[in-house]
């Protein structure tokens, strides 16, 4: 619905892809392009109208019936996004220790085969080059292709803070979203266990705090048989949806990062670390050509 302007990588933070800004005609400013801009404006207006209508028809019903889901947005927050959480990951500070992966596992108690973040190593062509490590959580895209394909609207982007979540009780486990995610951020819970989380293991009866639901993971029941993904540890948010680094309520990977490579914060707050880093450094996002507009940036 919102066009990607192609410059993507270093766009100003405050320039949220809100509909108003996208619709503003003549923002390219060039003389003689007014006509084109007006046409674009009308085109966009049409597109917006169509999607708005579809949203009103589809979304209203869907969200109306999502009342019981813990992850579902509340009515007042639907009208306005309060936060836009994201990360800026400094690959120059990452040493590839994988502490983020371990911290995430411990925090969310993810089973084998489910990794909310993953440290990948880029094998360099030149053996004298330093290796490039990259930790890769869910990017919580502005335009997530995964939520669009879900046949039952079980996965959606929260209005209040842009976090992409899964309603475990609604998800049928078709895995269409896994195919649609261009970043390998979604994993299916096949029901496997580590030795210490299996029956009679020390962690057997420790629930996962995910979504603040404290589910016991038992055979045949959610989240087994569901697709799972990074939630930016949203169970650590307070009532207002705020995180606090001082109180330790901070995504586990960012909190634990030994090289301080993972910066987390609110892109709507121009004074946040992540906003400042984007202003001061050159950042890239992965696969810009797909128009997904990830909320996780990398500094090279």
């Amino acid at each position: 619905m919102v066009e990607s302007d192609g410059v993507g990588s270093t766009t100003a933070l405050d320039e949220l892809p809100s509909e108003v800004q996208v619709l503003a005609p003549g923002r390219h400013g060039a003389q003689g392009m007014v006509d084109l801009d007006r046409r674009q404006f009308l085109d966009r207006l049409l597109v917006m109208g169509a999607t708005g209508l579809a949203g009103a028809l589809g979304g209203g019903y869907v969200l109306g019936s999502a009342g019981t889901a813990v992850a579902a947005p509340t009515t007042e927050s639907r009208s306005k996004q309060k936060y836009r959480y994201g990360m800026v990951i400094d690959t120059r500070r990452c040493v590839g220790c994988k502490a983020c992966m371990a911290a995430c596992k411990i925090e969310n108690k993810t089973p084998p085969g489910v990794y909310y973040t993953m440290v990948v190593e880029d094998t360099r062509d030149n053996e004298f080059d330093r290796p490039l490590f990259m930790t890769k959580p869910c990017f919580h895209c502005e335009h997530p292709p995964c939520t669009k394909v879900c046949p039952v609207s079980a996965t959606f982007k929260r209005e209040q803070d842009g976090i992409v979540v899964i309603d475990y009780d609604r998800c049928i486990g078709c895995r269409y979203c896994i195919t649609a995610c261009p970043y390998g951020a979604r994993y299916f819970d096949f029901g496997e266990n580590y030795e210490f989380t299996a029956k009679d293991g020390a962690w057997e009866s420790v629930p996962s705090p995910e979504y603040g639901q404290y589910r016991m993971r038992v055979k045949g029941d959610s989240p087994i048989g569901n697709v799972r993904k990074c939630t930016f540890c949203l169970h650590l948010q307070d009532k207002d949806g705020k995180y606090s680094k001082d109180e330790g309520r901070w995504p586990a990977c960012a909190k634990t990062c030994t090289g301080r490579a993972i910066h987390f914060g609110d892109f709507k707050d121009s004074e946040s670390d992540v906003s400042r880093l984007l202003r001061e450094r050159q950042a890239v996002r992965l696969k810009e050509e797909l128009g997904t507009e990830p909320n996780v940036y990398y500094l090279l």
Binding site: V62, I172, Y187
Partner: protein, 412 residues
Amino acid sequence: VEIWLKRLFWTGGTAFLAIGVLGWRDRLTNGQIHAGFGSVIPWGLWVAAYIFFIGLSAGSFLISALAYVFGMKRFESIGRIALFQALITLTLALLTTWVDIGHMGRALNVFAYPNFSSPMAWMIWLYTTYFVLLVVELWFLLRRDLVVGAKGTGFRAKFYSILSLGSHATSDESVVHDRKVVKALATIGVPVAIMFHGGVGALFGVVAARPGWNSGLFPILFLLSALASGGALLMLVSAIFQGGYHRNSETIVALGRLVLGLLVLDVIFQISEYLVAGYGNVPGHVEGLKMMFAGPYWWVFWVWQLVLGTAIPIAILATRKGRSARWASAAGGMIALGFIGVRLNIVIPALATEEIQGLTNAVDSSRISTQYFPSLMEWSVTLGIVGLGLLLFGLGEYLLPVDAEEVSHVSA
């Protein structure tokens, strides 16, 4: 020979179903823990089987429409069996998708919580429409024969009287009315079948994250391959059932010509897809193709799909051999089987590429791997579904008056 083929059919069906029981028990008690797919290749044998079955269904329905919508008398004799085949293969397609989802008990969420932007949701809604349409159309097609059959004695008569749902009319006017309903339903069914099968192509085609799928050719390719595979299976089926290839020889040969044309068209589309992708040589796009041509399962493409499913049957159907119903029906069987390879190669290679380089090396997990071979449980479940299909088809063919000629014989 028909007797021998029929015996093979019943033995095969029973054996497959027996094997399937083991797999289904594992699937229902242990979930998908024994499945071979993972989170890099999240779809495997079951999804391939699903598009195979749904293709057969759409194809055989559209061929029955040649008789009931377009009035092609030649195909009238196999119209009923085509429609019945469409119903059985649709059932199998629904079973394979159902077993594939992680929470089988939540399948109806697609109706309770619809998402209009999901091609998969649309598929399920269209299948439901199509299922109802097929059942109603088949009933109107068989109605008079059911009513007539119910007048006799014995088990079959009782069975027919239940199925006739209280209908009694046997007059010629009532049959004319039935035919009108059938024509109307078949006419509605044609766009529905095109929509849902083109839609399955779109289900894959819209996934921009998977360049191997993300092609505008996909919906068209799916329609062509549905028609070719559905028609091909129908050739084999009408050679075994309904009086076999002695009685249906002309229809089989005619169907053979139709299928040959569709298959050649399908091959041209596939070549077009490979050439355009290959020329561009964009890594994400050709990686899947390379795997298909030269990966560990190269033989699925070269031997199964190309030699057995395409080259040999084309050689049979395009030459004088194609005028013999026996050879033509064998070619039909080969094409239908070959399409299993086509379906596997649509689903798996496009998924078997890392979306982020290095992802599969980051952790040591069989679920995060570009290697996939269906597990024993997956094979067994699939065989069970095939077996069930064979038995359902055999029973229906035996019990229902789906044999149009035999019936017209009686009424004449």
